[in-house]
């Protein structure tokens, strides 16, 4: 995916219409062949029937949850056992004595304080390199404690929606960019890190480490809103942390790779995806090349990798081949 389009997607633009001229000859040939091949359509139906009978296991999801819980528990255990391995909370910490700072929290402090001490620079650069290598929004699905609670809320939402008790109300995805700008401006203007007051990531991380507080009520309210009104509303339309990490991950060498050759266009991946707009390319006739990198808004959660019956979507360390 082109960098420009990846950024546009992050900021909430609707997927662009694919022009015939944008599609490579190779990809065009595959598209044409898929249209002509009737046996493929039969295969799709067989495949879906098979999947309905044997639900594919969500292996990556289980590993991811284990990692997420382990990282968050490492903070807790380190403090309670006083082993000083990982001190602090997700907003800022020291791993084996080395400073780390959440990029969005650090940005908020820099804007509010208007002065940067060397420890914060070290922490910010370290974390920037770490998440750039790992894909930016990978932070969201593999580390953020709110993401896990939100996934559970989503499971409830999907169940209730199937019964017709609730309905998803999608919002304008540009809202997240506005939130990011509003909180950056507020930090700068008020001299106070306004976003931290309501950041569910920070609240949950501190609650785990230092004990629960009334601030958790806000997190609860967000989850209830997501269950009854709008699926994954915080992660999709609000969280400035997600956008910050998205910007970092835009040029990351680690991506989800889409392989047009294998794809049956069943759409199972889009059903499970937190950010389904990033999978626009899997729709029949849209892929511009045989191999397409999924854009920066992707959290590399791997649910699409698990959901795809034909291994069209895979984790891939691509280096910089996309930009050469």
């Amino acid at each position: 995916m082109k960098l420009k389009d990846s950024f546009a997607e992050l900021f909430g633009a609707d997927p662009k219409r694919v022009q015939k001229s944008d599609i490579s000859e190779e990809a065009a040939a595959v598209h044409a062949a898929q249209k002509a091949d009737k046996s493929r359509i039969q295969k799709i139906h067989d495949e879906l029937a098979e999947m309905a009978l044997n639900k594919p296991g969500e292996k990556t999801r289980r590993i991811r949850w284990a990692v997420l819980i382990a990282v968050n528990l490492l903070f807790v255990v380190s403090y309670w056992l006083d082993i000083q391995l990982l001190e602090g909370a997700l907003t800022a910490s020291r791993f084996a004595g080395f400073h780390m700072a959440d990029l969005n929290s650090a940005l908020q402090v820099m804007l509010a304080f208007k002065h940067i001490v060397i420890n914060l620079v070290i922490g910010t650069v370290t974390v920037f390199i770490l998440w750039w290598l790992l894909g930016g929004r990978t932070f969201c699905s593999w580390v953020c404690p709110y993401h896990l609670l939100s996934e559970w809320a989503e499971m409830i939402h999907v169940k209730l929606a199937a019964k017709g008790w609730v309905k998803d109300h999608p919002m304008d995805r540009r809202a997240r960019m506005w939130f990011w700008l509003i909180f950056a401006l507020l930090a700068f203007a008020t001299g106070y890190t306004v976003y931290e007051t309501i950041s569910p990531t920070g609240i949950l991380s501190r609650a785990l480490i230092y004990g629960p507080g009334i601030a958790l009520a806000w997190v609860g309210a967000l989850l209830i809103f997501e269950i009854i009104w709008s699926r994954r509303a915080w992660c999709r339309y609000a969280c400035p942390i997600g956008l910050t990490y998205g910007l970092v991950g835009a040029i990351s060498p680690f991506k989800i790779n889409y392989n047009l050759n294998n794809c049956f266009h069943e759409g199972e991946c889009k059903k499970v995806c937190l950010v389904p707009h990033v999978l626009d390319t899997v729709i029949k006739g849209r892929a511009k090349k045989i191999h397409v990198s999924i854009g920066a808004d992707c959290t590399r959660c791997g649910r699409c990798v698990d959901a795809c019956p034909t291994e069209s979507l895979t984790f891939k360390f691509k280096g910089f081949s996309d930009y050469l």
């Binding site: 907003t91 402090v109 420890n119 914060l120 919002m171 890190t193 920070g202 806000w218 339309y237």
Partner: protein
């Protein structure tokens, strides 16, 4: 009434209104969260080295590393209802004062953003607040009374470092009984006074002259007594840094001596 199909434009309009409602609700909630913190500025005691309140609130990244390194757990993080910003550290010195038993100002060293300024290196440079004898009538020394047993009773959870017991590990105040003719706990336990006394006999802490406080922090002065018993009154001196040990140790209930936050603190004492 039959539900009518919404046009594309109408759907977009509704989505826009919902998004705006979401956007403004969250923004207002965030702003509501800072109103109390702005109002309550300087009411609470901050950890050693804290910048002047407004700057401190700007710089704090709310990670709690200062909380984790404190050997006596003097530092707490504020909750939503505390009115001083979620996750911002403060000290409740009556419950647990900063007794500088870490010696090296660990909280300052741990702070990643400079909200606790690295300009302070020694306990006597700290500027948390200043002690005040606000209830002189309940002060045991003013009444001419002594103290026998532990200062705050057996259930008190507060900790303190007693060098003669264990140089490195603080113990519960409840485990350290006193037997004094006239209560002088606020002077006796004052970390600045302890250091100044060590320096006076030529044994500065860690053998480091720089650790010697240039000014005394608290002393007892004799006061008039009608019944002939010896009565004294604590007098707070220029060297007081507001660590709060006197407030924590004070056997009177409520404490006769308390720390008042320094509104004009600069992080470091000049």
């Amino acid at each position: 009434m039959a539900s009518k199909r919404l046009s594309r434009a109408e759907k977009k309009r509704r989505q826009f209104i919902q998004t705006m409602a979401y956007l403004s609700t969250v923004t207002v909630a965030a702003l509501a969260g800072i109103v109390p913190s702005v109002k309550a500025a300087s009411k609470r005691l901050r950890p050693p080295g804290a910048l002047v309140e407004k700057r401190f609130l700007s710089a704090c990244i709310k990670c709690g590393q200062c909380v984790q390194v404190c050997p006596v757990n003097a530092i707490k993080l504020a909750d939503l209802t505390d009115g001083i910003g979620v996750g911002v550290p403060y000290i409740e010195s009556r419950d647990q004062a900063c007794d500088f038993s870490c010696d090296g100002l660990q909280c300052v060293l741990a702070c990643p953003t400079g909200a606790l300024t690295h300009d302070v290196n020694f306990s006597h440079e700290v500027d948390i607040g200043i002690a005040k004898l606000i209830r002189p009538k309940s002060c045991l020394a003013v009444q001419g009374k002594g103290i026998k047993g532990s200062a705050r009773g057996p259930d008190f959870k507060g900790m303190m470092r007693y060098e003669e017991i264990d140089r490195w590990n603080p113990i519960p105040v409840a485990d350290y009984p006193y037997d004094l003719e006239l209560c002088d706990l606020c002077v006796r336990t004052c970390p600045i006074e302890i250091r100044a006394n060590q320096c006076d006999i030529g044994k500065p802490p860690s053998g480091d002259e720089q650790q010697c406080p240039p000014k005394r922090a608290i002393r007892l002065v004799e006061i008039e007594s009608e019944d002939g018993t010896r009565k004294m009154r604590p007098e707070i001196l220029d060297g007081c840094v507001g660590c709060g040990v006197c407030e924590m140790i004070c056997p009177a209930e409520p404490a006769a001596i308390v720390i008042e936050s320094n509104d004009n603190r600069t992080g470091k004492r000049i």
